[in-house]
Each structure stands twice: as structure tokens, then as C-alpha cells.
């Protein structure tokens, strides 16, 4: 017993393996049949105001978000001016390009097809200052995009940025042939070179209230890893800067806390975010969204592959599994006719010809339009 109790009076072997883990959590579906109006957009003091009206859906719904169509939407000024919006695609309402008088309070008024009325709170039109600097900087493992701005009058204080990325890419295999239903013929349309555009999903806000100047220096807008497929030839980034009111800033901060910042031990509890749109028909009805009034400042940046370090190897994202080409005719396809082989264009597309044989692959590997568009954007050089 004594020997068991007192082994070498030394240290212990540590048996601890910290057993923390993160698991997916799927609570029983909350079966609320309620669906609430979502108002997304802002009152643009200089240009086209675009407002999207949609409805909320269940968390488990796979489909998209239903649009709120055929509503009557207008911007109203406190002095009684009315600037109507028209629906140019389902749920998307736009004004003509216009300049709204400054130093005026504006709100958005909505009457749905169902006759329910909504309005945002009146808010003073803010003026967005110009961008001082918008550039990328090469770092060890990727490209850091910074944005800087300032307001000498110190009137802005709250900033928000949205960005839109566009990059040129190619599919895994360049197809020179197409199947017209009977025969394989030369392809005329380029489905190898495409462009892809993606909007920012993160909320980028910054406040200079705690700084001695109303100046944003090198705000880290976005980081592109060296291996990103975006940097394979030419990459373009367009940033849109908005000045915010304090309330709108708080609103975006709250949205950010709810959807992005939750997960570490000390993060705040999620909360029901209150926007500034209210139902005039039923004050208790929740309405989601915040309609601010501001102007937009935007700038575009191009980054060429040649200006980046040569040892950065970008993965061709989306084409990782496209390694080999199929061959026809071959042992595998014995007994198949050419027509049978190429019958379903969702299955395979001819790529090229090697002697008497055709090579082929799935459209996911060959047709770049699956991931983007082969229509060159207007701004592309």
C-alpha cells in the first residue's frame, strides 16, 4: 500500500486533455408563421436611391427571400416634398437620378400591395466626404486593402463601407468545340474566360468619435490571401463609402454583434435589433431595416497579377476537382454513340480533339459561366 501511495516523490504525468469542443446546434425549429417586412437601402442625396423590399423566412428555409412587390414607395421630405420610387424588378424600387436639397430631413414611406403602411424615421441628409486613399498593400501572406478618409469639418464621425469585388478567371479546360445535337462543331462563344462579381457580406463601420481628428487612417477593409483565386489575373475592387448618423451607426453595430461577433466566451448576448422603420398600421409589428439618408462616394481599384510577388500561387477556386479529361471513344464508353455520349450537356461538354478521339469534361469544369459571366464588365480595361 505504501508503495502504491508514494511513488517517486517527483512530478506527475499530466493526463489532462482539455476537452472543449464546438458542435453544431440545431434547436427544434421555431415554427413561427410570422413573416416580417425587410427594408434594405438608403436615401441617396445624390444619384439613384435603391430600396429592396423583402420578407423574412424561416431559418431552415432553403429557398430565397420573397420580394414585397407592387408596393408604393416614396421618399418624403419634412417640408412636404415627395420623390416617388418605381419598381424596376420585383421588390427593387428606384428613383430617378436626382439631387436632394441638403439640410433637410427625409424619410421613406411604403404602402404595400396589402394596404399596410410603413415609414422610416425622419433623418437629416448627411454628406459623405471623399476617399483619401484606397489601395492594396502586399504583406507576407496576402494582400491587405486599406481605406482612408477624413472630414476637416469633423461632421462625419461615423463611416460605413461596402465593396464589390470583380475578378477575371478561367475555367479548368478551354473548350474549342461544341456539340450541336448531331455533330461536334467548332465553338464560337468563349466559355473559358469569365468575370465574377461578389458583394461584401461583412459590415464595415468605423467611428472617429474617440479620435482627436475626424480621420480614418488605413482602415482594414479586406484581406485577400495569397492563394486566393481572385488574384489569378486581374482583380478589381470598388468601394462605396457612406457617412452615417449616430443612430445608423449603432444600428449597424448591433446587427454586426448579432451576426458576426458572437462565439467567444465574453461576447455580448444577441438582441432584437431595432431599426428605424415602423409600421403605421400596427405599431407592434416588427419591421427590419434602417433607412438612412446620405450620399455615396465610390472608387475603383485594379490589381494586376504582375504587380504581385511571383511566388504567390493562386488556387483556381471552384476547379480543384477538375484534374483529368475524359476520352471518347474509349474502353469505358464501348458501345456508346457520339450522340449518346454528348446527349446531356449537363453531364459533359466536348473540350478538344486528340487524333480521332474527343476529350470532354463536365460543365462545372469547362463552362466558366457556371461561376461567373463571360460578358466583360463595362469598366474592365
Amino acid at each position: 500500500m505504501r508503495r502504491l501511495l508514494f511513488p517517486l516523490s517527483g512530478y506527475l504525468v499530466l493526463l489532462l486533455a482539455v476537452g472543449s469542443c464546438v458542435q453544431e446546434y440545431l434547436p427544434e425549429v421555431i415554427n413561427s408563421t410570422e413573416s416580417y417586412l425587410v427594408v434594405d437601402g438608403f436615401i441617396n442625396g445624390q444619384g439613384v436611391s435603391t430600396i429592396r423590399l423583402s420578407k423574412t423566412v424561416h431559418l431552415t428555409t432553403q429557398n430565397g427571400f420573397p420580394s414585397e412587390t407592387k408596393a408604393t414607395v416614396a421618399i418624403q421630405s419634412q417640408s412636404g416634398q415627395r420623390y416617388p420610387l418605381t419598381e424596376n424588378e420585383p421588390g427593387v424600387y428606384v428613383t430617378a437620378s436626382q439631387q436632394l436639397p441638403a439640410n433637410e430631413q427625409y424619410r421613406l414611406h411604403i404602402r404595400t400591395a396589402g394596404g399596410r403602411e410603413y415609414a422610416s424615421d425622419y433623418t437629416l441628409l448627411k454628406h459623405t466626404p471623399a476617399l483619401d486613399r484606397f489601395e492594396g498593400q502586399i504583406q507576407a501572406n496576402g494582400l491587405q486593402i486599406y481605406v482612408s478618409a477624413h472630414d476637416e469639418q469633423a461632421q462625419t464621425r461615423y463611416y460605413r463601407w461596402e465593396y464589390e469585388e470583380t475578378w477575371a478567371f478561367t475555367s479548368a479546360f478551354r473548350s474549342t468545340l461544341t456539340f450541336d445535337g448531331q455533330r461536334v462543331v467548332p465553338r464560337t462563344e468563349n466559355i473559358y474566360n469569365c468575370w465574377r462579381t461578389q458583394n461584401s457580406m461583412a459590415i464595415n463601420t468605423f467611428s472617429t468619435v474617440r479620435l482627436s481628428q475626424d480621420a480614418v487612417r488605413d482602415y482594414r477593409l479586406l484581406f485577400i490571401p495569397a492563394s486566393s483565386g481572385r488574384l489569378q489575373s486581374l482583380y478589381s475592387l470598388r468601394v462605396r463609402q457612406y457617412a452615417l448618423s449616430a443612430e445608423e451607426f449603432d444600428y449597424w453595430e448591433a446587427v454586426k454583434k448579432n451576426t458576426e461577433n458572437i462565439g467567444t466566451l465574453f461576447d455580448p448576448l444577441p438582441s432584437q435589433v431595432q431599426g428605424n422603420v415602423h409600421s403605421l398600421t400596427d405599431p407592434d409589428e416588427p419591421v427590419l431595416g434602417f433607412v438612412g439618408a446620405t450620399t455615396e462616394v465610390s472608387q475603383r481599384l485594379f490589381i494586376n497579377r504582375h504587380s504581385l510577388p511571383p511566388d504567390w500561387h493562386s488556387r483556381n477556386e471552384g476547379y480543384e476537382s477538375c484534374t483529368e479529361l475524359d476520352t471518347f471513344p474509349s474502353q469505358t464508353w464501348r458501345g456508346w454513340t457520339l450522340q449518346e455520349y454528348f446527349a446531356d450537356p449537363q453531364q459533359r461538354i466536348p473540350v478538344g480533339r486528340v487524333g480521332p478521339r474527343y476529350t470532354a469534361q463536365s460543365p462545372q469544369c469547362v463552362d466558366c459561366r457556371v461561376l461567373g459571366t463571360n460578358v466583360k464588365p463595362s469598366f474592365w480595361p
Partner: protein
């Protein structure tokens, strides 16, 4: 050896013993080496070496085998070793005769005072308090048979017997020991200084002393007048079965207190913990009515109260953050702690300043007789405590330290972000006590704890608790004593962020508290115990400062103005034993709070929601000027009525006021929470609690049962508007709302204190609800309806079970179940700003999955030889035996445009631990 004396075999002794006093000759030394030998062999060996003769009944020693190995050791020591694991006892008389008996020990001498009382006995002291105390009384009375004559004077009437109960070995006071005279049904218990005062009719009494951790004893007293009797108790070395939770067996039924839990450090040691180290707060969490939002969190929610509503005292100094390392460890070194008392309903009038509970942690006093130490080696931390006398029998010191090596472990983990992280802590406690004379004793305590952690290399957190307290206890006379206490508490944290040079900054927070208080206890007669006193607390809060770090930083220094407040209170309480069946305690505490300048106070449009839009005026107050005053009575009432000898009913009513609030918008208690003082815009919290309980003991007080119910209402406690900003907010009142709370519940508990199987089972049903129904609709939470608080967990079941296989091996099994805590869940998703986002439910409308966990521990003790270099014990434990993945936090994240829910389990698999504890 003296602990073996338990029986007086009178006839035997009378026939043969010649009293020999004081001059015991040096015992002979012998060398014996026997392995599993027959007892007769031992006799032969010893009789061959020394001129001693054995006397025994051959039938009694038959089949007894002995093992002993001794080289030139004193004879009694050799015998003790040889017989220690046998039922045999021995005694040696002056004529070199050794009596070996089975079960009982023979008394070879008569007590000194056997035939006549000795009036000149040193233990008697005169009733005049000014008289010098005889030096010999320091040693205290040790004999159960001697007759002690106390006082001089009249032969009739009543007299007060007072004194201290101390441990003979260390000189430490024994707290909560019962001192009583069974025949008169009169008794009392010792206070935190081991002091007791008992008023009895003059005459001869047998005073019994009973308690935990020492052998129950008694004293024969001839009481002639007021006097002093100091009692020394012997450590109960052989028994390991103490799992005693309360000092008195019938305390459950007989004590006046309700809603009080007293935990002894021995009890706490048996409860398995995640990291193998005894954790005071984690054991407190197993008690009925005490909950926490999640595991790895030491924020206590007592009877539906918030985590800031507990007054945590460490030797009378307030501790603001009682945890280490995100709350995985409590900030108290188990080796220096003597006991922990939690008051959750009838809070004594002496305590105030927090709504829900008082957690009073007291340290041991340090060994006054000899130098000793103890410590432990665990998987994440190690600790060492040293203690000893400074002046023998008069003053002692106790110093304990604990440090983590978690940094080292983090770096071993196969995860990049863990390796860039660091986490470490240490704490040091020191305690000194000095007895100037019988009437004056001084105690000094210092405490320091520091935590540092850095998460994935960019933000470093550091926090620090510093406490000091000085107590002077003065005994005026047998009936009155007072304690003067001065204490200082400081808590601070700083967070340094250095990721971006342009916004590199340091955020600091600090609270300092200066306490002064005088407490008196007056025991006029057996029916009354009067406590009264006065206290004052001065607070200094630096609510936050942001300063730039580095020359490139654009951060503008932003330091919030300091807040000051003075909280003062007067109290008086009396415990009245109306009849043997009925006791009542009435108390009144009157507290007064002044918020002090210099400060700028914002004024808002009255009756409107406080926002920057309703801010109308700023008023500046000069230094020391009072900017707001709040005051009010705090009633404390409790009563006990004994239905039978084993059952009673108790009731209590309590009002408490709290002038300091913790601001935190996280569910878990976090080190970065801010304490805010009441001021012109933030009112104090007031809480009322009513509770009624029924108590019943079964099987000769070995099984205790209790049912307590309570209803609690709270007003003006702090809740937040959605998305509130709490840090560096100059007008925090615009982000917080005054909430109304109510909580109610039933707590059922069954405890078995002794036997091979012991432990407790408790079940609690409780609710804790909050209502925010004032101001504009935007301020209201959930439309102004009552909603569950963050810690509303209606069902809670706890089992703490210990099973003792033998004196050396014991095991412990814990089981805990509770309803999942409330959570705000996402209800719908929507598309905005190019991403899918979530629309959340009303606050706390849903619950996380239920919590349950089982833990197991096995304690192996070394042998129980009294004399050896060090006593060691091993604890092997498995925390979360079933590996259940209890959610610590549940959260939703937008990943690639999809909303996904995740649950984080901190201890998601069984965690084995090994700890080695030692004592020397």
C-alpha cells in the same frame, strides 16, 4: 497516546496505582523487528530487552498479529506502532507494568483532583477583568476529569462562564463548537474567534464540548462566579470520516438561522473538480439555491439574484472578482481556508451592501505551536502553504501561495491560436494573528491575486485583486467584546490591444474600497445575544480610461471621471430565546449612501427615457460635495419554533439595499465587467425576501431533512437596453434601465452526515423573472412583460455522495442536473446588406439543452502515523464521467451567407485528473 484515554477502569486502578506526578523517567529504548508476528512474540522480545512485565488476557490477544520495525526507539512508541492496526490498547504504569486490553485503555493514574476540588487551580480566574490572567491558563484546560473551580462569590444566582475553545496542537480557535450543559439544556456555540459565553446557575456542572475535527470532550466545573475557562481540544487523528457540514448535529433543527450553509474545508476537499483542485466556489455551487449560468463560471446566482448581488468576504475584505482564468478556478487557495459560510436568506444585520447573499470566507489562524506546511500538485496548478508560530502560543503566521502553469500547457496544445495565447495566474494569501493578552488580539490578512491572459496574440487582459484587512478584537468582559476592522480592497483590470498601430490602446478600470467597522457582541444573559455596530465604506471607482499605446496611435486619451461614494450603516440586532421552543432574532440595519463629487451630473427630461436627446443640463459638483443621497432601513427578522426535539419551523424576512452595481452584457461573469456606483441617475437596488422552512432530523440526528421556500422581490436592479455600450460610456444611464425582479422557489435537502455512506441530495424548484416596463416602448424589454432572467433554471438536482471503503480509501460521486438556461434564439432570417442575417426572438424566450454531469473521485490517504515526515494523499478524479457535451454557450454565426448555430462545450469529454496533496 493521550487520545486513547477514553475509559476509566476504576476498580483496577484503585487497587494498584500509586500516583506518580510529573517525573516520568525517560522511557527505555528497545529494538524490535516483527512482520505479521503473533502478539506473544512481541511480548517475548520486549520482556527480554527491558525490565517490563506485560499483563493481558490471553483470550483477548489470541489471533492478533503485529508488524513493527524499530531501532532503539522509546518503548511506548514501539508499542503504539505495533498495536496501531489492532484492537489492542496499552497502558504503562510507574512500576514498569504494561497492561494490554482490548478496545479500552486502562487509566493508570487517578486525576489530580479526584478526591477534592482544587480552589487554587490556575484555570480559575477572578471575575474582575482588570486582574492579570495567570500565565498557566494559556495552556487551557485539558483534563476531562479534573474539577475546575471558576470564580469566587455567592453560592446562589447565576454566573457567566466564558472562554475560548482552541485546538491543542495548533492553538487555532475552534469555530462553531457547541459548548453545553446537557442537564440544564443550556448551550451555545463558539464564534469565529473560538469564543463562547454561557450563563449558568452557580454550582457544579458537566460542560460538554462537541464539534468537528476534534474529539468531543467535557469539563467538570464548579461555578462560583463569573470566570474564564479556556478549553483545548485534541485533534481527532484516527477518524477520517468527517463529512460534517455543520458544526452541531442538531443545528439543522435547533439553530435559529435559516438559509445558512456552512462548509468545512474537509467537506470541500471531497468534491471532485475539473482540475483536481479543491474549489470553494464550485462546492458552494452544489448547494441548493445556488446556481451559475454555466460551467467554468464562478459567478453565483443565489436564489434568483444576479452575480453582483453577493458580498464575498475574505477575512472581512470584499473580493470583487473571485475567479481565476475565465472562472475555471476560484481565487481562493483551499489550504488557507478554514470555512465558508453562505447566508442566503436570513442575513445577519452585521452584513449589508448586497441583495442576495453573503459568502464569508475565513482563513485559518496558523499553527501557534509548531512550524508546519501543506500543499498540492495538480495538473494545472500547484500550491504551498506554510504556517507556524512567531511567538509560541501567542502569535502565528500563515502564508499560502498558488500558481498555474497553464501557459506551458497551452503551448503544448496542437492548435495555432492556443499556442499564440497565454494564460497564467497566481495568488498569495498571508495571515498573521497575535494575542497581546487575554483581552486583546490582532489579526492581519493580506491577499493578492493576478491573472494574465492573451487570446490569439493581439489583445492582452490582465486583472488584479488586492486586499488587506486588520482586525483588533478586544474583550471588555465576559459579556461584551468588540472587533474593530479596517479593510482595503482593490480590483483593477487592463486590456491592451496592439494589433493596429494606429488604434493601439490600453483600457483600464479600477475600483478601490476602504472599510472601517466596529462590531460588538453583548451577551447580557442566557436569553439574549445582542450584536451592534457601525460601519462605513468609501468607494473610489475609475470607471474606465482609454490611452494610446505607441507613438503611431491616433487614439485620443479618454478617461472617464472618477466616481466616489460613501456607504455607512448602523445596526442593532438581538437574538432572544423566548422559551426553549421559540427563539427570535430581530435586527435593524440603517444604511445611508452619499454619492460624492467632484462629478459632472447630467440631467434628463423627467419622466422620459434617458437618451442624449433628452439630456437637458449638466451640473458640476465640487470635490466632496454630495450629489445624491439614498438611505433606508433594512429589516432582518427570523424566528424558530421547535415542534419536537427533532423538528422545527423557521421563518425569516429580510430587506437589503445595494448601492453598487455590476454592468455586464455577457451571460457569464467576465473579468472585464464594470462596477458602477449609484448616483443621481442610477438608483440603489432594494430587495425583500420572505422565507419559511421546515426542518426535521431522523435517526438520532444523523439524517437531516429540510424544506425551505422563499419569495423575493427586487426593484431597481440594472438591466440593459438592446446593444448597450457599457465600456467608456460617459452617460451610461442612457443605456441601462431599472428593472423589477421577482424570484421564488422551494429547496428540499436531505443530508446524511456520518457513516460509510454520507453526503447530500438536494432538489430546487425556482424561478427568477425580470420586468422592464418603464420609459418609452423602445426601452421596454419584451413589451414590458416579465421574462426569465439569464439564470432562471427552474429544476435543479444535486447529489454529493461519499463512500468510505476504509480509513484510507474513500470515494466520491457527484451528480448534477439542471434545466438549461434561457437564451434568446434566432427566429427568422432575412437578407440585407448582401448577407443573410438573423432576426432574434424576444429576450430569453427559449432555453439551451438541460445540463447534467457526473463526477467521480477516489482519495487515497497515506498511513495515519501521527509522527512522520509528511502526510500525503492522492486524489484521482474524473470530471464529467459520461462525457456529456453540456453547452457552455450557444451562438449563431453567419458563415458564407448561411446562419448556423453552434454550441461550445468546455468540458466535452471525461477529464481525468491526479492531484497529490501533502501536509507536514
Amino acid at each position: 497516546m493521550k487520545h486513547l484515554f477514553s475509559f476509566l477502569f476504576l476498580g483496577w486502578v484503585l487497587g494498584m496505582a500509586t500516583p506518580t506526578r510529573g517525573q516520568q523517567p525517560e522511557p527505555q529504548r528497545v529494538s524490535v523487528s516483527l512482520q505479521q508476528a503473533h502478539f506473544a512474540e512481541l511480548v517475548r522480545e520486549i520482556e527480554a530487552q527491558v525490565p517490563y512485565r506485560f499483563f493481558f488476557n490471553p483470550a483477548a490477544v489470541d489471533s492478533v498479529v503485529v508488524t513493527v520495525r524499530a531501532q532503539q526507539q522509546p518503548l511506548p512508541e514501539v508499542l503504539r506502532q505495533a498495536l496501531q492496526n489492532t484492537p489492542l490498547r496499552f497502558a504503562i504504569d510507574a512500576q514498569n507494568r504494561i497492561y494490554v486490553t482490548r478496545g479500552v485503555t486502562i487509566q493508570t493514574e487517578l486525576p489530580d483532583s479526584f478526591f477534592q476540588p482544587e480552589p487554587a487551580n490556575a484555570l480559575a480566574s477572578s471575575p474582575d477583568p482588570a486582574d492579570p490572567v495567570p500565565a498557566t491558563s494559556r495552556a487551557g484546560s485539558t483534563s476531562a476529569f479534573k474539577l475546575y473551580e471558576i470564580g469566587t462569590g455567592s453560592a446562589t444566582g447565576k454566573a457567566t462562564l466564558a472562554g475560548h475553545v482552541r485546538e491543542a496542537k495548533t492553538g487555532e480557535p475552534v469555530v462553531g463548537a457547541t459548548v453545553y450543559v446537557e442537564a440544564l439544556n443550556a448551550g451555545t456555540s463558539t464564534d469565529q474567534f473560538g469564543f463562547f459565553s454561557l450563563t449558568l446557575p452557580v454550582g457544579r456542572h458537566e460542560v460538554k464540548i462537541r464539534g468537528i475535527g476534534f474529539k468531543n470532550t467535557r469539563r467538570q466545573v464548579l461555578l462560583r462566579g463569573d470566570g474564564k475557562l479556556d478549553i483545548e481540544t485534541e485533534e481527532d487523528i484516527t477518524t477520517l470520516r468527517e463529512v460534517v457540514i455543520e458544526a452541531e448535529k442538531d443545528r439543522n433543527v435547533a439553530s435559529l438561522q435559516m438559509g445558512v450553509e456552512r462548509l468545512d474545508v474537509k467537506t470541500m476537499r471531497q468534491v471532485p473538480t475539473a482540475f483536481g483542485e479543491t474549489d470553494v466556489l464550485r462546492v458552494v455551487l452544489t448547494l441548493p439555491g445556488v446556481k451559475s449560468v454555466g460551467e467554468g463560471n464562478t459567478g453565483l446566482n443565489v436564489r434568483g439574484g444576479a452575480t453582483d448581488q453577493n458580498l464575498i468576504l475574505f477575512n472581512d475584505a470584499t473580493i470583487y472578482n473571485p475567479s481565476h482564468l475565465f472562472g475555471f478556478f476560484s481565487a481562493f487557495n483551499p489550504d488557507v481556508i478554514k470555512s465558508v459560510e453562505l447566508y442566503k436568506s436570513a442575513i445577519p444585520a452585521k452584513y449589508g451592501g448586497r441583495l442576495s447573499s453573503v459568502l464569508d470566507i475565513t482563513t485559518r489562524d496558523g499553527n501557534k505551536k509548531k512550524f508546519s506546511g501543506s500543499g498540492g500538485i495538480g495538473p494545472l496548478t500547484s500550491r504551498l502553504t506554510l504556517e507556524g508560530p512567531l511567538v509560541k502560543d501567542k502569535s502565528s503566521f500563515l502564508v499560502g501561495g498558488r500558481s498555474s502553469y497553464s501557459d506551458w500547457i497551452l503551448h503544448l496544445l496542437p492548435n495555432e491560436s492556443f499556442r499564440q495565447s497565454s494564460a497564467s495566474f497566481y495568488d498569495v494569501s498571508a495571515h498573521l494573528s497575535h494575542e497581546f493578552n487575554e483581552k486583546n488580539t490582532v489579526y492581519a490578512t493580506g491577499y493578492l491575486s493576478t491573472d494574465k491572459f492573451r487570446l490569439a496574440s493581439d489583445t492582452a487582459y490582465k486583472y488584479l485583486n488586492q486586499n488587506a484587512s486588520l482586525k483588533w478584537r478586544h474583550t471588555f468582559n465576559n459579556k461584551l467584546y468588540g472587533v474593530l476592522t479596517g479593510a482595503l480592497s482593490r480590483y483593477q483590470y487592463d486590456i491592451t490591444s496592439q494589433r493596429d498601430a494606429s488604434v493601439a490602446s490600453e483600457l483600464t478600470y479600477q475600483i478601490k474600497q476602504y472599510n472601517a467597522q466596529a462590531d460588538f457582541s453583548y451577551l447580557p444573559n442566557a436569553k439574549h445575544t445582542v450584536d451592534f455596530g457601525v460601519s462605513s465604506v468609501l468607494y473610489h471607482v475609475s470607471p474606465g480610461g482609454l490611452t494610446p499605446v505607441g507613438s503611431e496611435s491616433l487614439i485620443k486619451t479618454d478617461v472617464l471621471p472618477r466616481e466616489q461614494g460613501l456607504e455607512s450603516a448602523l445596526y442593532l440586532s438581538d437574538r432572544i430565546d423566548v422559551s426553549p421552543r421559540l427563539s427570535v432574532a430581530v435586527g435593524l440595519r440603517y444604511s445611508l449612501y452619499n454619492a460624492l463629487g467632484p462629478r459632472e451630473v447630467y440631467r434628463y427630461v423627467p419622466g422620459q427615457s434617458k437618451t442624449l436627446n433628452t439630456l437637458t443640463d449638466t451640473v458640476a459638483y465640487g470635490p466632496g460635495r454630495v450629489l445624491a443621497t439614498y438611505h433606508g432601513p433594512e429589516y432582518r427578522f427570523s424566528a424558530r419554533y421547535s415542534l419536537t426535539a427533532v423538528s422545527s419551523v423557521k421563518a425569516s424576512f429580510n430587506r437589503t439595499r445595494q448601492y453598487i452595481h455590476m454592468l455586464s452584457n455577457t451571460t457569464a461573469m467576465s473579468p472585464t465587467d464594470i462596477w458602477k456606483l449609484s448616483d443621481a441617475n442610477v438608483r440603489p437596488q432594494v430587495g425583500d425576501q420572505y422565507s419559511v422552512g421546515y426542518y426535521h432530523n431522523f435517526r438520532a440526528n444523523t439524517i437531516e431533512a429540510s424544506v425551505e421556500t422563499y419569495y423575493k422581490s427586487t426593484k431597481d436592479f440594472v438591466d440593459y437596453k438592446g446593444g448597450a455600450t457599457l465600456i467608456l460610456n460617459r452617460h451610461i444611464e442612457t443605456d441601462i434601465v431599472n428593472a423589477v425582479g421577482k424570484a421564488y422557489g422551494v429547496e428540499v435537502m436531505l443530508r446524511k452526515l456520518t457513516g460509510k455512506i454520507n453526503g447530500w441530495v438536494s432538489y430546487t424548484y425556482s424561478r427568477s423573472l425580470v420586468q422592464v416596463n418603464q420609459g418609452t416602448p423602445a426601452d421596454q424589454v419584451n413589451g414590458g412583460e416579465y421574462y426569465p432572467s439569464n439564470f432562471d433554471k427552474p429544476h435543479d438536482f444535486t447529489l454529493i455522495g461519499n463512500y468510505r471503503f476504509s480509513r484510507r480509501i474513500s470515494s466520491s460521486l457527484n451528480f448534477t442536473y439542471s434545466t438549461g438556461r434561457p437564451i434568446t434564439l434566432p427566429l427568422a432570417k432575412y437578407y440585407m446588406g448582401s448577407a443573410t442575417r438573423v432576426y432574434y426572438s424576444e429576450r430569453n424566450a427559449y432555453r439551451v439543452p438541460d445540463y447534467y454531469r457526473a463526477d467521480f473521485a477516489l482519495n487515497l490517504e497515506g498511513n495515519h502515523k501521527v509522527k512522520k515526515l509528511a502526510h500525503g494523499s492522492w486524489t484521482f478524479g474524473v470530471y464529467n464521467l459520461t462525457g456529456r457535451k453540456n453547452p457552455y454557450s450557444v451562438y449563431f454565426k453567419s458563415v458564407g451567407g448561411q446562419i448556423r448555430g453552434y454550441q461550445l462545450s468546455i468540458f466535452g469529454q471525461p477529464i481525468p485528473t491526479v492531484t497529490y496533496n501533502f501536509k507536514f
